[in-house]
C-alpha cells in the first residue's frame, strides 16, 4: 500500500493499493465518468434508485452522476493552500459529534436542484486538516452496510486505517488518544 499526494502540500492524499496501478481517487472518478459502467450500475441498483430517489430513468441518473462528479472534480482541482479541508470532509457517522483518531470521513456534495447527491468520497482523517482518500461510491441506500458496493468501501477504510496504525504513521500522542477511544 502506497499513497499519492493530491495536494502538493501533502494535506490531501489518496491510497494506492498494491493490486492497482493508480490511486482510489482517480479510479473512482473514472467510474463516475464511464457511461457504460454507470448504466450497468444503475440497472443493477434500479430498485434503490426508484425507492430512495424516485428516479426510474437510467439516463437521468447517469447524467446527474456525471454532472455531480464534474463538480466534485472541480472542488478537488481548486483546493488552494489556504483551503480548510475540514470543510470538505464530514464524519462518516452522521451522529458522531466528537473526533476519534484516524476517523473515517466522507465528502458529500450539496446539489442546488432536485435530489441530494449520491456521490461519496471516503477518507481517513490523520490529524485535523490532513486526509487520505480511500475510495468512493454511489450511495443510494440509507446505510453503507446495506449494499455490497458500499460495504466494500467500509472494508477499504478499515484496511487503510489498520495499515496506518501498524506503521505508526500517526504520532505517539495521537496513537494513545486513539487507544483511549477504543
Amino acid at each position: 500500500m502506497t499513497f499519492d499526494k493530491i495536494t502538493k502540500d501533502g494535506r490531501l492524499w489518496a491510497v494506492r493499493f498494491d493490486e492497482n496501478t493508480d490511486n482510489e481517487f482517480i479510479r473512482t472518478i473514472d467510474q463516475w465518468d464511464d457511461v457504460q459502467w454507470l448504466r450497468a450500475f444503475f440497472i443493477e441498483n434500479i430498485n434503490d434508485l426508484i425507492a430512495y430517489f424516485k428516479i426510474s430513468d437510467i439516463n437521468i441518473a447517469i447524467s446527474d452522476t456525471i454532472e455531480d462528479s464534474d463538480r466534485l472534480q472541480r472542488i478537488i482541482l481548486d483546493i488552494s493552500p489556504e483551503a480548510d479541508l475540514n470543510r470538505i470532509f464530514r464524519p462518516l457517522d452522521n451522529n458522531q459529534a466528537s473526533d476519534v483518531m484516524l476517523q473515517k470521513e466522507k465528502a458529500r456534495l450539496k446539489r442546488k436542484f432536485g435530489h441530494s447527491s449520491w456521490l461519496r468520497l471516503y477518507a481517513i482523517k490523520l490529524v485535523s486538516g490532513v486526509y487520505i482518500i480511500t475510495g468512493g461510491a454511489i450511495k443510494l441506500t440509507a446505510t453503507m452496510q446495506e449494499r455490497e458496493h458500499t460495504s466494500r468501501e467500509l472494508v477499504k477504510l478499515e484496511r487503510v486505517r489498520n495499515f496506518l496504525l501498524q506503521e505508526n504513521v500517526i504520532d505517539e500522542a495521537g496513537f494513545a488518544d486513539y487507544m483511549t477511544e477504543l
Binding site: M1, T2, F3, D4, K5, I6, D9, G10, R11, W13, A14, R16, D22, N23, F25, I26, I29, D30, D33, D34, V35, Q36, W37, R39, N59, I62, S63, I66, D70, Q73, R74, I76, L77, L126, V127, S128, G129, V130, I132, E167, N168, V169, I170, D171, G174
Partner: protein
C-alpha cells in the same frame, strides 16, 4: 501549518508511491474537453439504449461497423472524440439519428 500536521505529513511521505499519479492531468483534460465529452457521453447513452432494444452486444456492433470490439468499448464509455465517418457508421448500424440535418431557408 501546525507541527502535528507537519510531523504526520513527513511520516506519510515515506510511503509515497514511487511512480507519481497523473490524476491532475486526467482531471484537467476532462475540464478542458468537457463540451465535446458531454456529446460523446450522450451518444453513448443513445447507443446503449438502442443496443438493448435491438438485443445486440458490443461484438456484434463491432462486426456491423467493421471495427474492433475495443474501439466500441471506448465509444460506449463516452470518451471518444468521434469523427463524422464513425458517427455515420453508428447511425447506419443502429438505425438512429445522431446528427440532425438543419432546415435551410431558401
Amino acid at each position: 501549518m501546525d507541527n502535528d500536521m507537519k510531523t504526520t505529513i513527513e511520516k506519510l511521505e515515506k510511503y509515497a508511491s514511487s511512480t507519481p499519479s497523473k490524476w491532475r492531468e486526467a482531471l484537467e483534460y476532462r475540464q478542458e474537453n468537457k463540451t465535446w465529452l458531454r456529446y460523446s457521453q450522450r451518444i453513448a447513452m443513445l447507443m446503449l439504449d438502442k443496443m438493448d432494444e435491438l438485443g445486440i452486444n458490443q461484438k456484434q456492433l463491432a462486426e456491423m461497423m467493421s471495427c474492433s470490439q475495443q474501439y466500441i468499448s471506448k465509444i460506449l464509455k463516452g470518451r471518444e472524440n468521434l469523427s463524422l465517418e464513425t458517427l455515420s457508421k453508428i447511425e447506419g448500424a443502429l438505425g438512429i439519428s445522431i446528427i440532425k440535418e438543419e432546415q435551410v431557408a431558401v
